[in-house]
């Protein structure tokens, strides 16, 4: 009995916890960069480690050792706090996802609402980062990020609620267990919701069809123009955690989560299944980002309201009629 706090601490700090998530974040950034590069007929990361697998870690430490330049005009408090918040929020939220067993480390009834709340909070952090930078490129980027959030937030919430209504619970672990007992993934039951959710996650991650807040050809680097050194390292780390969070959410809500595909649930089977499914989702994200071109901000917002919101409501109505549950 005395071992229990120790095991909890190990779980939080090492295995399905912080250390494992750090490795996962760097690994998925490598997969994303390499796959997108190969699709576009480039090489991608090549020299650090076998086929460049250590490149994201090398980039991270290189940025940490760079000089941290703070422009005179910035709001110092916001400028310092926002990179820390931007990387800490997705890391903390990742603990709600079940990885090692059927329940996550931080599982409670209603953690789906917490995830939605954190997604909104991340966008507000982005706006504050742009606002505190006092540069016109940063402010345009921050305003664009917020405008984009006004477009995708509603369909994303509705697409996350679809599985919750079917499973009768607002907890991610309960949704995963429901898919296990029913032996059917949510993709087959609610394909419309899956498509909407993937599109909204692309917008949340600011990947290419929706990379309007950091469009390099228009506004330098968008809301992160003024950041350098350790602050930029933390921003990039936060982006990687967001990628892990988004792929883990798609896998958990719509692809059966960490439940093994074969019928022997053992300690090794859960993380391996989780890794396989999330890697597939990351590959889907990078394929979409390599294939598409950027939308304009008005096209994006009006397209979201004209097509995605009615389709998401249609999906909810279908679920209420008994189709897909």
């Amino acid at each position: 009995m005395t071992l229990e706090p120790l095991i909890s601490a190990l779980q939080i700090l090492i295995f399905p916890g912080a250390f494992f998530l750090f490795c996962l974040a760097f690994f998925y950034e490598w997969i994303d960069r390499k796959f997108a590069a190969r699709v576009q007929n480039r090489y991608g990361p090549l020299f650090t480690g076998p086929s460049g697998i250590l490149q994201p870690i090398a980039d991270f430490f290189k940025l940490l050792s760079k000089e941290d330049i703070v422009p005179l005009a910035v709001d110092k408090l916001l400028f310092t706090l926002t990179p820390i918040l931007y990387s800490a929020l997705p890391l903390a939220t990742l603990f709600t996802i079940p990885i090692l067993s059927q329940t996550g480390i931080m599982t409670f009834e209603g953690d789906l609402i917490l995830v939605m709340f954190v997604f909104t909070l991340i966008t507000i952090t982005v706006f504050l980062a742009g606002y505190g930078s006092m540069s016109r490129f940063s402010i345009i980027g921050g305003v664009r990020a917020t405008l984009q959030m006004l477009g995708y937030e509603i369909p994303m919430g509705l697409a996350m609620v679809g599985p919750a209504i079917a499973a009768g619970s607002l907890s991610i672990s309960a949704i995963v267990q429901w898919q296990w007992t029913r032996w059917s993934w949510m993709v087959w039951l609610q394909p419309l919701g899956f498509i909407i959710f993937v599109i909204c996650m692309l917008a949340e991650l600011e990947l290419v069809p929706f990379d309007i807040p950091e469009a390099e050809t228009e506004i330098v680097a968008g809301w992160r123009t003024e950041f350098s050194g350790r602050k930029l390292a933390l921003l990039r780390l936060g982006k990687d955690f967001e990628l892990v969070l988004a792929s883990a959410l798609v896998a958990s809500l719509y692809l059966g989560g960490a439940q093994p595909i074969w019928s022997v649930p053992s300690v090794i089977a859960f993380p391996i299944t989780f890794l396989l499914k999330t890697v597939c989702v990351v590959l889907l994200f990078s394929l979409l980002r390599a294939v598409f071109a950027r939308f304009r901000i008005d096209q994006m917002v009006s397209g979201m309201w004209k097509y995605l919101v009615p389709l998401a409501i249609l999906q909810i109505i279908l679920i209420q009629l008994g189709i897909g549950r």
Binding site: E67, A88, L89, I113, S135, S138, E153, R230, V309, I317
Partner: protein, 114 residues
């Protein structure tokens, strides 16, 4: 992990903020310090080489406000739909149709104003 529930949420949020603060501190220790002599250009915000006064940078909050109000209304509607899984059937369907009509009205109103 269900029994330790009241403590686990603040513990994990504090832990991740502490980890990021450690990385930030470590970055401050190891980073290059740069030369003591700083020019005006180094500490200026990026502006493609032009001189641009800081005061002219401002967010257009008035145009933003309309969007924010729309968003607030629809977010509340979405959350009411989110908690509708105890009463399945006709009432949530009617509610969803009302939301759909509201979206259509919003789009038509925007089209008419143009």
């Amino acid at each position: 992990m269900q029994d330790g529930l009241p403590y686990i949420l603040p513990i994990i949020f504090t832990l991740s903020i502490v980890i990021m603060l450690l990385i930030y501190w470590f970055g401050g220790k190891t980073a290059a310090k740069g030369s003591l002599k700083t020019t005006h250009g180094k500490k200026a915000t990026y502006a493609c080489g032009e001189d641009f006064p800081v005061e002219e940078v401002r967010v257009d909050l008035e145009r933003f406000f309309v969007f924010a109000v729309y968003f607030l209304i629809f977010d509340v509607l979405a959350f009411i739909l989110a908690t509708s899984f105890y009463t399945t059937g006709l009432i949530p369907i009617a509610y969803s149709l009302i939301v759909l009509a509201a979206v259509a009205a919003l789009l038509l109103a925007r089209g008419a104003r143009k």
